[in-house]
């Protein structure tokens, strides 16, 4: 296909290599078993935060440990996943 056949809409998809990187959308392989971009890692962190909170409400909080401990753990874990995941 020559350039003159590329429609404006199609040309929007034909981004040069490095455009994704400029948008901060690069995928990388950290300690997580899959390649992830920053949004994937944020998503994983939120999923873990919610799961940990529900687990904490059900099993840990009745013992007497505050939910804020769970939030602190989830926050630290989230930061670790986003930076190193």
């Amino acid at each position: 296909m020559t350039d003159k056949h590329v429609t404006p809409l199609a040309s929007a998809h034909l981004a040069k290599e490095g455009d994704d990187a400029a948008l901060g959308d690069t995928e990388r392989h950290g300690f997580l078993p899959i390649e992830t971009n920053w949004f994937d890692r944020l998503f994983i962190s939120v999923v873990i935060w919610v799961a940990l909170s529900l687990f904490w409400f059900r099993f840990i909080e009745p013992i007497g440990l505050s939910i804020w401990i769970s939030n602190a753990i989830a926050l630290a874990l989230g930061a670790f996943i986003i930076r190193k995941g």
Partner: protein, 292 residues
């Protein structure tokens, strides 16, 4: 830069609609889930109660029972639909007399509204007038009453869902199978691969994206089934078919407990997203990684 601008302009209407009809209601439901709110009570204002609704939900036996029943329903229904749908799709790939007619009538359930499906199945399963209990009794001596038997009610809903939604699976898998190239299959046959090997090593990996998309759609639909179940059993007998959708409906409308109902909705959405994401990662990510 110019193409980016054009792209954003073209996307703007969609993004606006998504924002107002998708993002905003979602944010509002999350907001309400942190409140105690009964708009029809003597004091109809929202009262912020922190995470108390979430604290309550993990001990709520009615919710946990609904969750268990829904998971069982989803497993039975979706797995059956995928297996039967694939077998029907393979059957439709071959030529046989009356294929066009059969393919047409097999898609008819798809165009029926769920509420109609529920009422039709209610008529068919009502003990005194229904055709199903009549013939089960006449041919096999089985007495079926979905009003009193929990397993009968549960499996009737499973069968109804399979009947209603298997054509969708069949259609998407037919589309996937038709688009497959013939070369790998011919080469595999020349190399002496048997049917099972061809299925596991060629067909299944090649239709995996379509299969996963179909499973996602069915999973999400099955997790929020309400209308068919509401028409057929109303969640009974007892709470044996009180699926999450029905549970939310009963919590929000008859009890007008909007805050707690929103909390259940948020948790159901969370579970749906997590299940779909895990499925996606476990089945599609290894393929993408291999390509990379």
């Amino acid at each position: 830069m110019r193409s980016n601008k054009l792209g954003w302009i073209l996307l703007a209407p969609t993004l606006l609609i998504l924002f107002f009809f998708g993002v905003l209601p979602f944010v509002y439901v999350v907001f309400v889930s942190f409140h105690q709110w009964n708009p029809f009570a003597a004091s109809p204002e929202m009262i912020f109660n922190g995470a108390d609704n979430f604290r309550r939900i993990v001990f709520d036996s009615a919710f946990l029972n609904s969750l268990g029943v829904t998971v069982a329903f989803v497993l039975f229904a979706v797995i059956s639909e995928v297996i039967i749908g694939y077998m029907l799709a393979q059957a439709f790939m071959r030529e046989f007399p009356g294929k066009a007619f059969f393919r047409t009538i097999h898609t008819l359930p798809l165009i029926m509204a769920p509420i109609i499906v529920g009422s039709v199945w209610k008529l068919m399963t009502t003990p005194s007038i229904g055709i199903i209990p009549h013939y089960l009794d006449k041919w096999f001596g089985i007495s079926m009453n979905i009003g009193t038997s929990a397993p009968a009610a549960f499996f009737t809903i499973v069968v109804m869902d399979i009947w209603h939604w298997t054509p969708l699976v069949t259609l998407t898998l037919i589309a996937a199978l038709v688009s497959l190239p013939r070369d790998p299959f011919e080469q595999a046959q020349i190399d002496g691969a048997n049917k099972r090997q061809i299925f596991w090593h060629i067909t299944l990996p090649m239709i995996a994206p379509a299969l996963i998309a179909t499973v996602f759609i069915r999973l999400m639909d099955a997790l929020r089934t309400v209308d068919e179940v509401w028409m057929l059993t109303g969640g009974g007998p007892g709470s044996s078919t009180r699926f999450l959708g029905v549970h939310i409906f009963k919590e929000v409308f008859p009890k007008t407990n909007y805050g707690y109902g929103s909390t259940i909705s948020v948790i159901v959405l969370y579970l749906t997203i997590v299940v779909c994401w895990l499925l996606y990662v476990s089945m599609l990510a290894p393929r993408n990684n291999r390509k990379g």
